[in-house]
């Protein structure tokens, strides 16, 4: 019996760039896909009814996930459509979200200094240049809307005193806007002219949890190969209570 953990079921190994299934010649990688699916069909249709008597049993953690992967692998590997295009599209979007998150996180990553590692507390020392973070949120990555740029900053700050740093960054953004309001558009002014992160969320009328959910959807929308401005606008409208 082949060990399922040794099978290469990465996207690149299974699909061509256009989303179609790769033809396999190496039967060691995916042995007899159609036979396996036919076996599943036979086992699922040619059988006698049994009474549903479940019992529970302890298994090593991850057993269910592994079983799910095996089913997906066999179904997809057999060339069943089963969302092959959809699967690849979703994976591409996921990769795209990482790129978007990298872009919008540069306001933090470009302005963070590390000073080594504290062995006792088991965490690194770091310092944020909040002045430059505020400037970068306002002035860089303008291909993304201001709320996405703010979210990029929020997600890239370390958990330690995250909200306190966000408060400081909002104060600095407010100062920059008050010094030269003509440099910023209405959305930037509305979103950044706050004295704290909680005031920003209050202005949107959303909880932190809702804010994160909406912004993750916005990032997925930006990550698509063909960006749908209307979809992004609708999602941002959701964040802004329909005002955008």
């Amino acid at each position: 019996m082949e060990d399922i953990n040794n099978i290469d079921y990465t996207i690149d190994s299974m699909f061509n760039s256009d989303g179609t299934i790769k033809k396999r010649t190496d039967t060691k990688v995916i042995p007899n896909e159609n036979n396996r699916v036919n076996k599943v069909i036979d086992k699922s249709t040619k059988c006698r009814p049994v009474k549903n008597t479940k019992k529970s049993r302890q298994k090593p953690r991850g057993t269910s996930d592994l079983a799910k992967k095996a089913i997906i692998f066999i179904a997809l590997g057999a060339g069943l459509t089963i969302g092959a295009h959809e699967f690849k599209t979703q994976t591409d979007i996921y990769k795209g979200t990482l790129d978007v998150k990298g872009d919008i996180g540069t306001s933090v990553t470009s302005n963070t200094e590390y000073y080594g590692y504290n062995q006792n507390e088991e965490k690194p020392y770091w310092d944020y240049d909040t002045e430059n973070i505020a400037k970068d949120i306002l002035n860089e990555n303008k291909e993304y809307d201001i709320d996405t740029r703010i979210y990029g900053c929020y997600t890239h700050l370390n958990e330690y005193q995250k909200e306190e740093f966000m408060d400081g960054i909002f104060k600095k953004m407010s100062k920059l806007i008050s010094e030269a309001p003509e440099n910023y558009n209405e959305d930037e002014i509305k979103s950044c002219l706050h004295s704290s992160f909680s005031e920003y969320l209050d202005s949107k009328g959303v909880t932190l949890e809702d804010y994160s959910k909406i912004m993750e959807k916005v990032i997925r929308a930006y990550a698509k190969e063909e960006i749908n401005e209307e979809e992004i606008s609708n999602l941002l409208g959701e964040l802004n209570g329909g005002s955008r």
Partner: protein, 77 residues
Amino acid sequence: MNEEVNIITLDDGKDYMVTDELVINNVKYLLLTNEDDVADFCIRKINNINNSEYLVGLNNKDEVLNVLKEFAKKNHD
């Protein structure tokens, strides 16, 4: 570390883990994986017969493929 899984004994006498449950058009399907061979799996649906739940086979190939398609969709999102 362990996890608790539900086990069902099928008509072949082997024990199968309940890997997932799906409801499609008001029919409940179970995806069952042989607990000794993760690549050996099958699908059953639940029918109520005389007030008792029974696991019965699917009608045909199309029904099997449809369940697999829905399973793949659910687990790719």
